[in-house]
């Protein structure tokens, strides 16, 4: 499975032009490393004292050196030794770094303490000085120099491997494996290896580039040089001695070293970027997993709203890079001082709709047609949200639209006091001074019902309960005095007592500030408690809408009934509810 995933990453990475060019250069270097000596137009060791330090010519494309040897041939023939040197260093680094890093999984605290001290000590050593010392001790050979470099690369690998391995052992799937009685080795093979490997691959590409530079630098200093066999670095240094006669001579080996190091780094970047982007968005998976319905689009008309703040018309959203349509023409309005609930099961398209409205669609998702308008008091204040670019969105989000998400903790930076984060948000869209913004933040904290707002101001996210964190986010969301507040499953992760308090808070905000509130939720009970109007979403369409009380008590659509049944069956005293509903109808 890991191979499959990585293949995918590689293929996606190669979709990037930069990665393709980088790979082409790397392949060229590999070919040169293996066949350079054979392919070289002339013998790189043949001296010709009649043609020393010549410029480029038909016979010598890159000219000749101080002994009259062909520079192009020497560069080609030297590739092998340079690459082998770099590979040696990285290989030794991998061996000495990854194995002890993985050993952290088995060995205890004493090992950890000792290994980290050793690593710290090695990390303080400068590469070149250490290599000089080692070659001084073991003799001036390329292998000795590269072993020295490898030993110094090892701590990098050790830290990466150890951090990744220990981090992964704290994941729940590794905990689960432990509960099945899996051995550590099995855990490593099944779960850890496939996650660590991409990181190691990226590190290795970068380390190779670094090693190549180090090989060259050392050769430049005369370390690891075994004349007359050339390496790139040695070419560079010998050229330098004749800089006065041949000012352009170091250019070719220098360019080559730069080119290869650049290609390796570009390739590493491409792998890392595409690897990170491929984690499939859960909502998209839900939309894909939901069965596609064959019904024609049955969009309900827009219910007229007294003072609309948000108007969505014929919104269509495609996922999976345009291959699947998941929202099929949704229209609705939200008015000032109104609470509208957008309900539906997972995969119904409610979250995609909400993300399209807030301009936060995940990569691969796109609004394919329809308009999303934020309406102001006059024509000029109205904005077509669909046309906004990033800068435009930054003006709208936080200032005219406030957004609150399900999992408050993941929207707060764990290492910054929450008050400071609120101040940052306030200062983005106001000209307040730092101290004024701080006063405003504390005011806002108090207004969302945080007791002791000054204390909360100085706290870090982990010191807050889920309910408090959600209040902080609500405070940040309303800091720009928005017209519209969008709450995406904002209370779903909270306990019932806390949920009740947060719902109360939202109700109060709408009443006191005349906000329009769009509440996206799967919980009809929350809708029944809070909303004025309900939109029922199913398979990318709004199948029913109306006042919350009538939708909940007398649904007309089978999908709504299904949602209701689902919410109801497990209610205690279900029979009583049913009786009362019938009573309310008659």
């Amino acid at each position: 499975m890991s191979a499959r995933r990585r293949q995918g990453t590689l293929r996606r990475a190669l979709g990037l032009t930069s990665a393709r060019i980088a790979l082409a250069i790397i392949l060229l270097i590999v070919v040169l490393a293996i066949f350079g000596g054979v392919l070289a137009p002339q013998n790189p060791l043949t001296q010709n004292t009649n043609a020393v330090l010549q410029g480029p010519s038909g016979a010598h494309w890159l000219g000749t050196d101080y002994l009259g040897r062909d520079v192009l041939s020497r560069l080609m023939a030297g590739t092998g030794r340079s690459v082998v040197g770099a590979l040696e260093a990285v290989g030794i680094g991998l061996l000495l770094g990854v194995l002890p890093g993985l050993a952290s999984l088995w060995l205890g605290r004493t090992y950890e303490w000792i290994s980290l001290r050793i690593v710290d000590a090695f990390m303080t050593l400068p590469y070149v000085v250490f290599a000089v010392a080692v070659t001084g001790f073991f003799g001036n050979s390329l292998t000795a120099a590269m072993t020295a470099v490898g030993v110094l690369i090892a701590p990098l690998y050790f830290r990466i491997t150890r951090a990744a391995a220990l981090g992964l052992t704290r994941t729940q799937y590794v905990e689960a494996a432990e509960l099945f009685g899996s051995s550590r080795l099995r855990v490593l093979r099944t779960h850890l290896w496939s996650k660590i490997l991409p990181t190691l691959a990226v590190t290795t590409a970068q380390a190779l580039a670094a090693a190549l530079l180090i090989v060259s630098s050392l050769a430049f200093l005369g370390l690891g040089v075994e004349p007359p066999l050339p390496t790139w670095g040695e070419l560079l240094s010998s050229d330098l001695d004749y800089l006065a006669q041949q000012p352009w001579a170091p250019l070719f080996p220098g360019l080559l070293i730069m080119l290869v190091a650049g290609a390796l780094n570009a390739f590493a970047d491409a792998i890392r970027d595409t690897g990170a982007a491929q984690d499939v968005d859960a909502e998209i998976a839900d939309a894909e997993a939901a069965p596609e319905s064959d019904e024609p689009s049955s969009v309900g008309g827009i219910a007229p709203v007294a003072e609309p703040v948000l108007r969505v018309e014929g919104l269509r959203v495609t996922v999976n890079r345009g291959r699947t349509e998941a929202v099929h023409g949704v229209s609705f309005e939200v008015g000032r001082g109104e609470i509208v609930g957008l309900v539906g099961e997972s995969g119904s398209g409610k979250t995609l709709t909400c993300r399209a409205v807030t301009g936060l669609l995940a990569p691969g998702c796109e609004r394919s047609s329809g308009t999303v308008e934020l309406l102001g008091e006059d024509e000029t204040a109205s904005v077509d949200l669909a046309t906004l670019d990033r800068a435009g969105w930054n003006k709208i989000r936080g200032q005219r639209i406030g957004i609150v998400f399900q999992d408050p903790a993941s929207y707060l930076n764990p290492s910054i006091q929450v008050g400071k984060q609120a101040v940052e948000a306030i200062r983005v869209h106001s000209a307040l001074s730092r101290s004024a913004a701080k006063r405003r933040a504390i005011e806002l904290f108090a207004s969302v019902g945080l007791r002791e707002p000054e204390t909360v101001y100085r706290q870090y996210p982990h010191e807050l309960s889920g309910g408090m964190a959600q209040r902080v986010l609500i405070a940040i969301a309303i800091s720009g005095d928005p017209d519209l507040l969008i709450a995406d499953e904002a209370t779903s992760a909270l306990d019932v007592l806390v949920q009740a308090e947060v719902l109360d808070l939202l109700r109060g905000l709408v009443r006191d500030r005349g906000l329009a509130l769009l509440l996206v939720t799967h919980d009809l009970a929350v809708v029944a408690e809070l909303c004025d109007r309900v939109l029922v979403c199913d398979r990318g369409r709004i199948v029913e809408q109306g006042p919350a009380t009538s939708v909940v008590t007398a649904p007309t659509q089978p999908q709504t009934r299904r949602l209701l049944d689902a919410a109801r069956v497990w209610q205690p005293g279900f029979d009583d509810v049913e009786t009362e509903l019938v009573g309310a109808d008659s």
Partner: protein
């Protein structure tokens, strides 16, 4: 004899001077019974579940499963016990509890691989049976990684992984709180079916009394690390004795205001009829 018997369990993080998270908890689960444990964040309910399966060490007290004292198991004996798979843990969030790189089939096979159960064919058969039991179509979904499954499907993979070892007791930590109503009911019904058809007992932890109402035979209410009230589910829902339980019941959002009455019903029938 109780299937699971917890007595005087005290658990705490940090040293002995920090106040315990669980303080003298006593609970039992009978064979074929579903016990609901309800509490809010910070009540210690997740710690309880993790302590039972051995992910968190206990400060004192006993946890006996089927006559074996779990808290005394160490090293090889503990691993051998776990490999038998009689006690299984169902995590709250399938997206975190499933390896994102493993397909549904691979994940469900994992416990069998770890224990070295049977040969390849036998394992495949048991995996197919477990996936079928939770209503997942192996032909279409078996090769999908979690990222390509819906939330409800992922939760079912998690359950299938627990069921594949034919456990006698499931410890479920908030098994449905991440699910929408339809999927929640599917999973809860599944737990009921497993109890009725195979006699699989469960300890189901939740912060939501309503999702427990339909499945639990008995409910224990946990507040600040202590069991404040326990009894048959009807009794707790209809006439909660503890003020905390009363508050918890009153705070739950309802489809229709003021419908949940505290009147006692003569009927002992479960509110699940479908």
């Amino acid at each position: 004899m109780s299937l699971l018997e917890i007595s005087d369990l005290t658990v705490g993080y940090g040293d002995r001077h920090t106040p315990p998270v669980l303080d003298g908890v006593a609970l039992d689960v009978q064979p074929g019974e579903i016990l609901g444990v309800i509490g809010e964040t910070g009540s210690g309910k997740t710690t309880l579940a993790r302590t039972i399966v051995g992910l968190v060490p206990a400060r004192s007290g006993r946890i006996e499963f089927n006559g074996v004292e779990l808290s005394a198991l160490r090293g090889r004996a503990l691993r051998a016990f776990r490999q038998r798979g009689e006690l299984q843990f169902v995590f709250q969030d399938p997206l975190r509890a499933l390896d994102p790189d493993l397909t549904a089939t691979e994940s469900v096979t994992e416990p069998l691989d770890a224990a070295g159960t049977g040969d390849r064919t036998e394992r495949a058969e048991r995996v197919a049976k477990a996936l079928e039991a939770v209503g997942l179509d192996q032909a279409t979904l078996g090769d999908r990684v979690p990222g390509r499954l819906s939330g409800g499907q992922r939760q079912r993979v998690l359950l299938a992984r627990a069921l594949v070892t034919e456990p006698r007791l499931l410890i479920c930590d908030e098994p449905v709180s991440a699910l929408d109503a339809a999927n929640r009911n599917h999973v809860l019904r599944l737990l009921l079916n497993l109890r009725d058809a195979q006699g699989i007992a469960a300890l189901v932890i939740s912060h939501d009394l309503h999702s427990l109402a339909g499945v639990a035979d008995r409910v224990a209410v946990l507040n600040e690390g202590r069991v404040v009230e326990q009894g048959p589910v009807r009794q707790i829902l209809n006439s909660p004795a503890d003020p905390y339980t009363q508050r918890l019941l009153a705070a739950a959002p309802r489809l229709h205001a003021a419908t949940i009455t505290t009147q006692t019903t003569a009927s002992t029938k479960e509110p699940v009829s479908s």
